[in-house]
Amino acid sequence: MSDGKTYAIQPQFHKKFKPMQVKEIIQKCLDEKLTDKKYHVDKASKFTRELADTIKQELKDLNWDRYKYVVQVVIGEQRGEGVKMGSRCFWDEETDNQAFATFSNDSLFATAVAYGVYLY
């Protein structure tokens, strides 16, 4: 990420964080990685880490300038219990955005959120 002073306060339109596109990427990563997998304490830990890194790498590959990314992944055992996840962000509505996707099968559920924050 070049740190030169470009004085750009907004990204160009074609290089803006696009939630729908990122949502598809996240969904694809979740589906590829977790289909037919069962919840197991050690493996789940590994999956969360690998998923977070994979999604982050895919976002970097999109080559959007001056964006910082935060990816959060939650994987839990599927036992029919209640879970709720939410977030609030204090940022610039015009340049920053987020996308999320969920996946579940009989033995586990997974949620991944990706936030893109523009660096002025």
Binding site: Y39, K68, G76, M85, F90
Partner: protein, 111 residues
Amino acid sequence: MDFNDETVFEKEVVLNILKEVTEETLHDQTYNQGKVGQWISDICERSNKKLVALGKPFKYIVSCVIMQKNGAGMHTCSSCFWDNANDGSASYKSPQDWPLNVVTTCFALAI
């Protein structure tokens, strides 16, 4: 970019804020499907307000997961692409003896 001492991410201060807000909202509560949405909104919004009141040049993302205690396991992980010198995160996990599992995380990104 010119940075001075004010733009350093202070993990202990942020952790304290998350801890206070989570404990105020959820002490002695058991899982209630109807109220859980409201709890999450409250925790996130109040944490945000207190973080912004610190007056530092940061953008904040506060996220909260609340889970019923039924013996199931849960893992959370985050991966960030940012400037390590100025950005940071803090995460507060509820104590074992609570009837709920709560994880509140805050990401602060420098402007």
